[in-house]
């Protein structure tokens, strides 16, 4: 791509964001499978609108389509911020239908689910490049954050100059290690929470208002 084209695209991205400031910002909830993204999206949606976004499950790739909850208005310290919450499928570089067979699924169902999962991940990547204004990156704090998917996705988000809030989820689990996530991404602030139990959601909402307001 030529220098002038790159400069024009960069300026266009900045002006697009400036002129759409009055619109609700689309905040994508990203992260690896089973990090608790849908649990968090449902927690936010229920707390501020009374409705859920989608079903939660311990089976990987339960969310296979990006789902949007529009006009979620969060009030913090006298300020209000209105966002569209976009719950996205967990990002991965591989999907094997045999993994679903371990969850008592028939082969046909497992193959269908894996097809939907791959379409969902492709869709999530497209949203990230084109259609979100900020990212909430959710990690399971009981697992190793030094994975290639996390490294690549944080790199992709940073390269788009999107504001990103890193959440260390599942702090209610015994193996939770928040510091390990803070060490993995020292350039970003890490906020601990349990989306399932609702622990530390006040700080999460403070940070959403600060980062995306």
């Amino acid at each position: 791509m030529g220098l002038l084209t790159e400069l024009r695209d960069s300026i266009s991205r900045v002006t697009d964001r400036l002129f759409s400031a009055s619109e609700p910002k689309r905040i994508g909830i990203y992260g690896p499978p089973n990090a608790g993204k849908t649990t968090l999206a449902n927690r936010i949606a229920r707390d501020w609108t009374g409705d859920a976004v989608g079903p939660e499950s311990h089976i990987p790739h339960e969310t296979r389509r990006a789902r949007r909850k529009e006009n979620v208005t969060i009030e913090r310290n006298g300020r209000t911020v209105t966002i569209d919450v976009v719950d996205t499928p967990g990002v991965t570089t591989k999907v094997d239908y045999n993994e679903f067979l371990e969850h008592d699924m028939e082969k046909d169902d497992a193959i269908r689910r894996s097809r939907e999962a791959t379409e969902g991940v492709a869709e999530a990547m497209h949203w990230l490049r084109e259609d979100v204004d900020g990212v909430i990156y959710v990690l399971d704090s009981s697992t190793d954050p030094f994975t290639q998917v996390n490294t690549m996705l944080i790199g992709i988000i940073e390269s788009q100059d999107l504001p990103v809030l890193i959440l260390a989820n599942k702090v209610d689990l015994e193996d939770s290690n928040i510091q390990r996530i803070a060490n993995a991404f020292p350039q970003h602030e890490t906020i601990p929470l349990s989306a399932l139990e609702g622990d530390n959601m006040d700080e999460v909402y403070d940070k959403i208002a600060e980062y995306f307001g």
């Binding site: 790159e6 570089t93 999907v95 894996s114 492709a122 992709i156 100059d161």
Partner: protein
């Protein structure tokens, strides 16, 4: 890739130089990588991909996954340096430092054993 006699007993590893990748457009790079990996070979990129190319690689890989045929890829790079090109002009022009050696292989043939900032250890198996 250059013509060679495939050795069915071994695993082919293609080390692709930065100079060779520099001459390709993003989709040509992704096509080269996926075609090589789908043949059951391992690709080592001297200088890696840009974040945008990595995003497209994931997207195209997902579109090509097919049950009992292709399960996707395993990809490993060193963690991105925190001291890379973070200058305002660099970010404005999308010129992030991407020169990171990258290993890519079929998901069912390569397994990462260990990774840190200076070492990637992987187990490669035959088909």
């Amino acid at each position: 890739m250059p013509e060679a006699t495939p050795n069915t007993d071994g695993v082919q590893i293609d080390l692709i130089s930065g100079a060779r990748m520099d001459g390709l457009r993003s989709m040509e790079k992704i096509r080269l990588i996926l075609d090589t990996v789908r043949d059951g070979n391992i690709v080592i990129l001297e200088e890696g991909l840009s974040p945008d190319e990595e995003s497209k690689l994931i997207e195209v890989t997902m579109n090509e996954i097919s049950p009992d045929e292709f399960n996707g890829i395993e990809i490993e790079t060193y963690p991105r340096s925190q001291t890379g090109d973070k200058s305002f002009l660099g970010r404005l022009m999308g010129k992030e430092e991407t020169k990171k050696l990258t290993v890519i292989g079929p998901a069912n043939q390569i397994e990462t054993l260990h990774k840190d900032e200076n070492l990637i250890s992987a187990l490669v198996s035959r088909r």
